[in-house]
Symmetry: C2
Subunit: 196 residues, 2 copies
């Protein structure tokens, strides 16, 4: 079974529809998804940006919010612009690596929904604890694991790996033969590439 | 008949497949295209860029060239990366405004084909003269018109208008009700928006 790597950052708006859509699209083609959370911050720093390019370039930012609304309308997703952008996704990313890999997709979707449908702050531990709790995952234990050296290293490793793979934004998709696709709008193409 | 504004810059890679595809897509939906050449340079300068972002951000640039190849392969367009990027599209843009509006679409396509299929330098007057000549448009007269104050002002006007309309990249599409869509990958959506 072909494995499509799905590289996402929790603060990334366009990663939200990608996370919500990917399993439907891949399951239709018998493609498996590897969920790879990483941090865009260090990559953006390398490009000379100290914030999201959507904040630095105002017209691009205004366009993105409108575009996101249209995309969410089209695929039937709620979209509430949160007050803070970009949010701090560090804790969410560590928790995503701390839960069992079979729980990672659902945890990821719930974090995106909390942020972009619920308008909640995912930098707030309570928001993340509520998600874990609802998924019947013990928040206290998971939080301890998420702060371990093992998980911290795993997230740093993912971020380094993303950079090595020439990833410069999220969501990004990498096919088994190494093709890089960037953006929610390239998801269908990336899935098709896996089975061509 | 709904009119879709098509804003393009001759140096823009992604404007090439858009220019080649737009009339097929719009004619299917009985939408008319208004061809609006403009210059991205002044807009990029406003964003703090002194070159194409694809040159400034290397990983983004490498991705764009690969993405362009995939897009052209998929829609059956030749793609030869020209040596110079971005090319100087000033003269081509002025000529596009100097020809009759009914000749603008074909002239535009021929300039893109010369650059991105033929690998030619569209800053070279001879390349543009050959295109005009093949279209049975008198190069000498058109060149004189293209250098007139009227045409220079028209191009400046287009560039100012693009900026007013919050355009920050090319290709961009604007629907009759003012929706902005950015990118060749949003062309289908822009056309659909005109007739929804």
């Amino acid at each position: 079974m072909a494995i499509l790597e799905f590289w996402y950052e929790f603060a990334s708006t366009y990663s939200y529809p990608a996370a919500m859509r990917i399993e439907q699209l891949t399951s239709e083609k018998a493609v498996e998804v590897k969920w790879c959370p990483f941090l865009l911050g260090p990559i953006f720093k390398g490009l000379g940006w100290d914030s999201s390019p959507f904040n630095i370039y105002k017209s691009k930012g205004a366009y993105m919010w409108r575009d996101m609304q249209r995309i969410c309308d089209e695929c039937g997703l709620q979209f509430n612009r949160s007050q803070i952008f970009p949010q701090n996704g560090l804790l969410a990313a560590r928790l995503a690596l701390a839960v069992r890999s079979c729980d990672r997709p659902e945890f990821t979707r719930q974090v995106y929904l909390a942020q972009f449908a619920g308008g909640k702050d995912i930098g707030d531990l309570k928001v993340l604890e509520t998600i874990l709790d609802k998924m019947n995952i013990d928040p206290a234990t998971t939080l301890i694991v998420s702060g371990s050296d093992k998980i911290k290293t795993a997230l740093r490793h993912n971020t380094d790996k993303a950079q090595e793979k020439q990833i410069f934004g999220a969501p990004s998709f990498i096919t088994p033969d190494g093709e890089l696709f960037w953006g929610n709008d390239r998801l269908e193409q990336a899935v098709a590439w896996c089975v061509r």
